[in-house]
């Protein structure tokens, strides 16, 4: 599903984002990526979705050789991924429904498919009632649910989330994480970069800990305390 082979990312200013990283994430897994600020979590996710390219080594995602990809292939890699960020990145001039539908229009889904799938996705994240609302009429937690619905609506094989709860209160954060777990149980591989100590500790998932761009630990049913 996701495979890094001796991958190194050095940014143009010489800063090392990742150093000789080798790791595998299998289909259907739920993985937390944790580590101090600057340890390389975002870099790891950016390499998966080809927002950055590795300086050395290989990255394989959903059958694509991401390290060695022509420009025209990138959209198809991205269609096999769902992406969620800390800042919600919704289109402010579109309703919740249209934001989700837009993701389907982009991949040229039929109007019928859109009418069927969008309500399902909104239902899954529990926001059917707010379909007609605009992003600025929604709370942070609600906006992040819309983003989740958008990330899911095209049935991606892998969902990657970079601090999806970074801007949310603890209760809402837990709800979002539970939603991610639910999505995972439906068969989607989920990779979440986070600082949420409490949630990581209670959810007992695989935890990859990064430190200065290297893997410090990689534990099944791990917790934050495994870091030390």
């Amino acid at each position: 599903m996701i495979r890094f082979v001796d991958t190194t990312k050095v940014y143009s200013n010489g800063v090392v984002g990742l150093r000789n990283l080798t790791v595998r994430v299998e289909k259907g897994e739920f993985v937390f990526v944790i580590g101090a600020s600057g340890s390389g979590k975002s870099t790891f996710l950016k390499l998966i979705m080809h927002e950055e390219v590795p300086t050395e080594g290989e990255v394989y995602v959903n059958g694509y050789s991401v390290h060695d990809m022509v420009h025209s292939e990138i959209p198809y890699l991205r269609r096999s991924l769902g992406v969620v960020f800390q800042d919600f990145r919704l289109l402010p001039n579109k309703t919740a429904y249209d934001n989700v539908a837009f993701a389907m229009q982009i991949v040229e889904a039929t109007a019928r498919e859109i009418r069927r799938q969008v309500p399902l996705a909104l239902g899954l994240v529990g926001l059917s009632k707010k379909a007609r609302a605009y992003p600025n009429q929604l709370s942070g937690g609600e906006q992040q649910r819309i983003v989740l619905a958008r990330a899911l609506v095209n049935n991606p094989a892998v969902l990657i989330a970079d601090e999806p709860t970074g801007n949310l209160d603890p209760k809402t954060s837990l709800e979002i994480m539970n939603l991610l777990e639910e999505i995972n149980q439906r068969g989607t591989t989920v990779v979440v970069a986070t600082h949420e100590k409490g949630i990581v500790d209670t959810m007992k998932k695989r935890v990859i800990t990064l430190d200065h761009g290297e893997i410090k630990s990689d534990v099944q049913k791990g917790s934050y305390s495994d870091e030390n």
Partner: protein, 304 residues
């Protein structure tokens, strides 16, 4: 690309024009100004060309017979002219007999004493030919000068050489017009692409989101191109209206001046007959400028 996607992209592009009123207005203004300038130059060129053509058609080939030409020699010349008329080379001709010439001279002199020793017998008959194609004059002059009865000393005249010189100048003028057109086009493309770049920048988040979701480059690019095309076309229509009004006003003014100067053979063309041509040229230029301008402005943002 599927039809429904095309519809969607056209709708997005159209919405963009309406939503970004200020940017659209600025871009449209650029197109209007560029095309208006272009149109005026174009109309000047068309007018000069058509006036030269008209002058050429009005040119007469004049032939003087020798004073002592025999009636047989005269019949030879008339026969030749008739034959050329039948062949569709000469459109019409008239002649001035010795008597008419004598009377004309007499009339213009006012003073009969000056005509002493100059009688009808000293006058020469002349022919005035209008040619269907002014360019056939050289051949005709060559043939006419072989006739016995034709006066070889300045007996054949045609003003075409002067007009040819004028045409030479016109050709250079046309090259200059061409160069101005190219420069205008480049400037407009730059201005438009700059304006659209601002709207692209304003929507960089939207572009980013589209890319994360897996939009193809064409999907991202088309709404902007539609926007550019639309701006170009609206600019073309407005500029066309502006040009036609300005030209009609100019036409009245300049034709009045020409009439005052007794240059009534020269006149500004009617706008009507060239209107369609101008409109097509404007539309093509506007659309090309808008399309290319927006194409360049999105390109940069696609490389992520």
């Amino acid at each position: 690309m599927k039809i429904r996607t095309m519809k969607l992209l056209v709708k997005e592009g159209t919405n963009n024009v309406v939503k970004n009123k200020l940017m659209s207005f600025a871009s449209i203004l650029t197109v209007v100004a560029a095309l208006f300038f272009l149109g005026i130059i174009l109309l000047i060129a068309i007018n000069i060309t058509s006036n030269i053509e008209a002058m050429k058609r009005d040119l007469e080939l004049t032939i003087f017979l020798n004073v002592n030409a025999t009636s047989y020699q005269r019949e030879e010349v008339v026969g030749f002219i008739e034959q050329k008329k039948a062949a569709g080379i000469v459109s019409e001709y008239r002649n001035e007999t010795k008597e008419q010439m004598y009377d004309n001279i007499k009339k213009s002199l006012n003073d009969d004493s000056l005509l002493e020793g100059f009688g009808v017998e000293n006058a020469a008959e002349s022919f005035y030919l209008k040619l269907v194609d002014p360019n056939s004059s050289d051949e005709l002059i060559k043939q006419l000068s072989t006739f016995e009865g034709v006066n070889k000393n300045n007996g054949i005249g045609y003003g075409k050489d002067e007009l040819d010189k004028l045409e030479g100048i016109l050709k250079i003028f046309n090259y200059i017009v061409m160069a101005i057109l190219v420069i205008l086009m480049v400037i407009s493309v730059l201005l438009i692409s700059n304006t659209i770049r601002l709207t692209v920048f304003a929507r960089r988040h939207q572009i980013e989101i589209m890319k994360y979701v897996g939009a193809l480059d064409s999907f991202i690019r088309w709404p902007f191109i539609v926007e550019g095309l639309l701006i170009g076309f609206i600019g073309a229509v407005l500029s066309f209206i502006l040009t036609s009004q300005a030209y009609k006003w100019l036409q009245d003014v300049i034709n009045a001046i020409l009439l005052n100067l007794k240059l009534s053979t020269l006149r500004l063309l009617e706008f009507g007959p060239v209107a369609f041509r101008i409109f097509i040229i404007y539309s093509i230029f506007g659309i090309v400028i808008g399309g290319i301008g927006s194409f360049f402005s999105v390109r940069k943002h696609l490389n992520v």
